[in-house]
């Protein structure tokens, strides 16, 4: 048995003194759900990550991976955290040739930095996670979180074509490759996408890019819930290829009032329709939308982008107020919205094209009331054929309310986790098993 002092010393040898924090005051600011790690390491290479993992296993210290730290409040409250692996030093482009329309970058690179690089070639990585673009690629892929653009472009699960991953058994492996089509072998990458670092540490990501649209705009209008539901159903079934379609309640609209040209009083909703492409495409999309929804306001360019950025901010995890994500068949979004809007003061965002409804309890709401709200929303989502996951909330709440809800095939998932992380050091129990 290797003692803690010795393990910390070995960590230090692996990454260098400058890249390891162990002092109580220093690690306190890296706490997850109020729980500080024993040590925080900032590895500078894949080899260093692999070495740290080996040492953690030998020293029996659990490991949590951190990118920008914006969504560590996801998942169940962590068990004691031994080593926090902060990947922000792994932040370079590995390969990028614009005509391939793919990019390979290290996991610690922020989405904002990557967008700048590929944006110079009028391309973009169509990730728009909750919160902001300071999120890292590794974080976005590990959470598989999505934003308004998913309707058009899909989720990280659909866009990631290859990865390099460090396993707790010491190997650094490759999944997939750099071609957009690839069926050579099992699609191992799916083990690591969206599994909160519970099976391996994502080091490098290759993803499909998309051309940046020539123009983009947001069309928005305040409507009754019934009108909003009908408009969304029409748009989702149409051939207009919109980028996004969100319905937000008056609480959310109020929070966006600085950037929105429309307001909604209690009981009404705002529909936000994202359109993009060549200018002629936009004109046509706008014409059709206006035929359907009278009194649409239109925002262009930076104003349009500003709305989405702020709207994503609404659904970012804070760890303070509860945020639940319900997932239902798309036609049930209005029913799910109705359930959320019935809760006094709750902010609600519905993604009409994806069947996702995010609802957040009012800040300062009593725990018992929040719990009742969450319980009713989860029950509603299940009745509608879906499920609901608590994305963030105070740790006391997470102890009371099962973060993941019922998880089918938990036995198989437990075996999967054991296959890749037999020492059970990764993830600190935040993921489903």
């Amino acid at each position: 048995m290797i003692g803690l002092t010795q393990t910390l010393h070995r960590f230090e040898e692996a990454v260098g003194e400058r890249h390891l924090l162990t002092a109580t005051a220093a690690v306190a600011s890296y706490a997850v759900d109020g729980q500080p790690p024993v040590a925080v390491a900032f590895p500078g290479s894949a080899d260093e990550v692999a070495a740290l993992l080996r040492l953690a296993v030998e020293g029996r210290l659990s490991v949590l991976v951190r990118g920008a730290g914006s969504h560590l409040c996801l998942g169940a409250p962590p068990k004691p955290i031994g080593l926090l692996l902060a990947l922000t030093r792994l932040n370079g482009i590995v390969a990028y040739d614009a005509e391939d329309l793919t990019v390979t970058a290290q996991a610690g690179m922020s989405l904002a930095t990557l967008q700048k690089t590929v944006g110079a070639h009028r391309q973009m990585l169509p990730f728009d996670p909750p919160g902001s673009d300071s999120a890292t690629l590794g974080g976005i892929v590990s959470t598989n979180l999505t934003g308004p653009m998913r309707m058009r472009y899909g989720a990280p699960r659909d866009l990631v074509i290859g990865m390099r991953v460090a396993l707790s058994t010491g190997e650094v492996i490759k999944t997939g490759g750099r071609t957009v089509k690839n069926v050579a072998g099992y699609d191992l990458g799916k083990v690591f996408i969206g599994s909160l670092g519970s099976a391996g540490v994502i080091l490098e990501i290759t993803a499909r890019l998309t051309p940046r649209p020539e123009a983009e705009a947001v069309l928005c209008a305040a409507l009754s819930p019934k009108e909003a539901a009908e408009a969304a159903a029409w748009l989702v079934g149409s051939r207009l290829e919109p980028t996004s379609c969100e319905i937000i309640n008056h609480v959310a609209a109020q929070r966006l009032r600085a950037v929105l040209p429309v307001t909604a009083e209690a009981g009404r909703q705002v529909i936000l329709i994202g359109v993009s492409g060549e200018r002629v495409t936009l004109e046509r999309q706008e014409r059709d939308v206006r035929e359907r929804i009278a009194n649409c306001a239109r925002l262009d360019g930076d104003d349009a982008r500003g709305v989405w950025l702020r709207a994503r901010g609404l659904t970012g995890a804070s760890g303070k107020s509860a945020l639940i994500r319900a997932s239902v068949p798309v036609s049930s979004v209005p029913a799910m919205m109705e359930a959320a809007c019935a809760l006094d003061g709750w902010m609600t965002v519905g993604r009409a094209g994806d069947g996702l409804v995010l609802a957040s309890a009012p800040p300062e709401q009593e725990l018992a009331a929040t719990l009742r709200g969450l319980t009713s929303l989860r029950a509603r989502s299940v009745a509608l054929g879906g499920h609901a996951v608590l994305e963030s909330g105070p740790v006391d709440l997470k102890r009371e309310f099962a973060v993941w809800g019922e998880v089918p095939n938990a036995d198989l998932m437990r075996q999967l986790k054991q296959s890749y992380d037999p020492a059970d050091v990764l993830g600190c129990g935040r993921f489903v098993v």
Partner: protein, 469 residues
């Protein structure tokens, strides 16, 4: 040969007429559309999830391997029972269970034929995006097993991007539900892992799939080139300029000759390359995009460029393209199908080197490319009657694998590894990578009964020893 008691048990499960054991019957299930062969011990044709489960339980009890089979259009040996055992045909499970237009979801059994299904959802203004060239006969179950692509996956993604849920009979016979009708079910992505597992993780007996609105309009642009390389250059430029095409397909002269010999479609057999560009979307934008593509083709040195307006043109050209595989079979008694895929910028140089491989091994290669994806089908023609010719064809195929791996590509873009390519997996994956993949196989199929001999290379003695240590 299976013992009589097992055969009786199988008959009790599926009915006597659905257990085939006559040599003539077994022969037709002994191969698929690849060169792989293997005689099954018996063929069973179950009609329900319950029957599949009972059949696999018997396999498990008797330690008999099984191979699921849809229409048998597999191009890598995936449906061939190379280790014998039972073939489980899903042809009797061919019902569309529901089409939910409001939710853009359908639930189907695995034996549903892709194109017939497309015809059922089209009146709702919807489509199922995967469109492999075999779609006239290939099944949705097979599409799921192989993570099938097709020309239009350039814009719409491959099968895994369109599957929401699966009812899976595990190799033990246990029935599980993966995924649902809602996105992002909590936990590991079991649907994503199962799709593309080539029948080695179990049998999907119900498939919940995502549909998408049909595009409002389509338009084709055709470029005729005197060199294959120039057509490849045009493709790179189209992608580099940010034009989103629905499909970018190239046929070479050999393929055009084959198509013309079987299905005269007016292809220019005196040219070296035929580039078919399909654009889709709102009708207002198609003309401008088509003109930009035409201009790029001209600048890349196209001999002629044509913008096809009439739907009949589109149908004729696609019929020609999708018949390429079958037609090529007329050029020679046999062919090796290579499906290597490369990053898109490497297409021109790979095409040049492929032509050198042709010369070096004195083989004829009919090339037909999903060029927009970098997916290069090179069909190497040979005659089985001349073993020496077959050896040269094999050598050429191996050279192409090496070539594509060396430029950062992969050994298969959509056909699967099957029984034909496991030995080449090490060109792109390290022993550690393969060991990590093998863990998945052990998870789903610890007894190793589901489609043995496929996907992963046989374990070397040392790793076997390691596993048992």
């Amino acid at each position: 040969m299976l013992d009589r008691k097992l055969l009786k048990s199988l008959e009790r499960v599926v009915g006597r007429q659905y257990v085939l054991t006559q040599p003539a019957d077994l022969l037709v299930y002994s191969y698929d559309s690849s060169t792989a062969r293997g005689m099954p011990d018996a063929v069973v044709l179950p009609a329900s999830t319950r029957e599949v489960s009972a059949v696999l339980k018997l396999c498990s009890q008797h330690q008999i391997p099984f191979v699921a089979r849809g229409a048998g259009t597999n191009l890598s040996g995936g449906a061939a029972p190379v280790h014998g055992g039972l073939v489980v045909g899903v042809s009797r499970m061919s019902k569309v269970l529901s089409i939910d237009a409001a939710n853009q979801i359908a639930v189907v059994q695995p034996g549903v034929v892709n194109l017939q299904f497309q015809a059922m959802v089209a009146p709702h203004g919807l489509q199922f995006c995967p469109d492999p060239a075999s779609q006239k006969v290939s099944t949705v179950g097979g599409n799921v097993a192989e993570n099938a692509g097709g020309p239009h996956c350039l814009k719409y993604g491959v099968t895994v991007n369109h599957i929401l849920g699966l009812t899976v009979v595990m190799p033990s016979g246990e029935v599980r539900q993966f995924g649902s009708t809602a996105l992002d079910p909590p936990g590991y992505d079991l649907v994503g892992l199962f799709v593309g597992s080539e029948g080695t993780f179990g049998i999907a007996t119900e498939i919940t799939l995502k549909l998408r609105p049909l595009p409002e309009g389509t338009q084709v642009v055709v470029g005729i080139f005197d060199t294959l390389e120039a057509s490849g250059r045009a493709v790179s430029t189209i992608i580099g300029q940010g034009i989103v095409a629905a499909a970018l397909e190239i046929m070479d002269r050999s393929t055009m000759e084959a198509v013309e010999a079987s299905f005269p479609s007016g292809l220019p057999t005196d040219a070296e390359a035929f580039l078919l560009i399909e654009l889709d979307g709102l009708k207002e934008v198609l003309d401008a995009r088509a003109e930009r593509c035409a201009q790029i083709c001209r600048e890349a040195g196209a001999r002629t460029v044509e913008i096809g307006k009439a739907p009949a043109d589109r149908e004729r050209l696609w019929a020609a393209r999708k018949s390429a595989f079958g037609a090529t079979a007329r050029l020679s008694p046999a062919m090796l199908v290579n499906d290597a895929t490369v990053p898109r910028t490497r297409i021109p140089e790979v095409v040049r080197q492929m032509q050198e491989i042709e010369r070096k091994h004195r083989v004829r290669i009919a090339k037909v490319f999903h060029a927009g994806d970098g997916n290069l089908h090179s069909n190497i023609l040979y005659d089985r009657a001349h073993p020496e010719e077959m050896e040269r064809a094999k050598a050429a195929s191996v050279d192409i694998f090496h070539l594509c791996a060396s430029v950062g590509g992969t050994i298969t873009g959509e056909h699967g590894v099957g029984s034909e390519k496991p030995e080449y997996m090490s060109l792109i994956y390290s022993p550690d990578d393969l060991a990590a993949q093998r863990k998945l196989k052990r998870l789903f199929d610890p007894a190793g009964l589901a489609n043995p001999g496929k996907v992963l290379p046989a374990e070397t003695e040392t790793t076997m020893a390691g596993a048992h240590a």
